[in-house]
Subunit: 241 residues, 2 copies
């Protein structure tokens, strides 16, 4: 796992636990939004990986994808249960994020097994980076939950291995997949911006309305860090970004 | 769980454990066939349930289907690991059953959420009945594994509740779904017969080549019992069979 300087700083300056922080209705609303988005993201990841399993070239690959889909579902279950535990309706919490995520998936439907792998790898990684960044601004209980839900499902290494093998076997695949990676990043940023624009509580959390030390300059830096990480990941796949 | 008279008799007349029985190459081949068919059936059930989850009318139903899909995958994993443990190649063992099962699924692609539920319910139940019947002819270790893999994933009650509600709300749905149930049973029997015709070791196991006390008359009776159970299940759904 990467070490994040930010994460360590934040642990040092804890803003308190859920019981303390959620007394602020704005904070509570922001966290319910965040957990709802994350929960639907996991359910949607389950569906996407199960769908990709159909494109698998052999039974071992198919089973590997199915296994990862189930790991995403376990994450979903934990987030769902947490929403219920704090008295929220999990369905309500997820609903605002269904359309942006479905739109993202419709705009980026993989046309083959390799595009599916690159999408799952890049998509998960962008989501993980985003949630790790946000996690440092959360109360201790929610941070632990979010980081747990982002834990590795083994997908990254699987995708890297398969894509590198495919590019070695057919170097022309690299150019096509590099374009594909850029398109994924563009669509992900576009949907993320839409969500931030529409969800007031969530964007207040991001731009320091509820939590100090996070302003628009910080948001810009965060997107830069995520884009840089994307570039490194594309290189790990053997692709220009 | 239902009590099966046969199961209890068989437990009384155990044919031995895997170590003893598998010394016979015909018996070993039959069991590898059986586990391969069952493993691919579970992987295929995972895919089918994940696919049906997309048709779910709301997020709670979607998550319920995804949860069942993951339970099927856990069964797959156990069968896969057992095949590997006894020195078989799980992919090889599953391969002969890919085409018959895919053909069954192509011939019976549900056109909506309710057809998907009825299919999963009826299909799982037929498979469970079949494997319970076969289980009584197996060595103790394999029997335990097969019965475990057939354990309830919670799908049956879920499907019954949803289908009954739908028929109450719109009684005309009942006629359409009853026809659908008959078609499913017909296609399942047709693919099962094809498998038995093509897999010598497996059919020897069924017609007493390797295991005493099971002949063609018995096979006929077995299919009758499975058909009767199907009739009862359709009635439980509120459908004429």
């Amino acid at each position: 796992m990467e070490t994040h300087g930010e994460t360590q700083d934040a642990a040092a300056r804890s803003i308190g636990d859920w019981a303390e922080c959620s007394a602020d209705p704005g904070y509570r609303a922001a966290v319910l939004d965040l957990l709802g988005a994350l929960a639907y993201g996991e359910l949607s990841a389950f569906e996407r990986l199960a769908e990709d399993a159909k494109l698998a070239p052999d039974l071992a690959d198919k089973a590997a994808l199915a296994r990862m889909a189930c790991a995403e579902f376990q994450h979903y279950q934990r987030l769902h249960d947490r929403l219920a535990e704090v008295g929220a309706d999990p369905q309500e919490a997820m609903r605002p994020f269904v359309e942006p995520l479905e739109l993202f998936h419709r705009m980026t439907a993989p046309s083959d097994w390799l595009e599916g792998l690159v999408k799952a790898y890049v998509g998960d990684a962008i989501a993980t980076d985003f949630y790790r960044e946000v996690a440092v601004r959360l109360d201790d209980d929610t941070r632990e939950l979010v980081l747990g839900a982002m834990s590795d499902t083994g997908h990254a290494q699987f995708a890297v291995d398969k894509v590198r093998q495919a590019i070695e076997a057919d170097p022309r695949a690299g150019g096509r997949l590099a374009l594909w990676g850029r398109r994924l990043m563009g669509e992900a940023l576009s949907q993320a911006q839409r969500v931030v624009a529409e969800r007031d509580a969530l964007s207040n959390l991001l731009v320091g309305g509820q939590v100090q030390g996070f302003d628009l300059v910080e948001v810009g830096k965060m997107f830069n860090r995520i884009t840089e990480a994307h570039t490194k990941r594309m290189a790990a796949l053997g692709l220009a970004s």
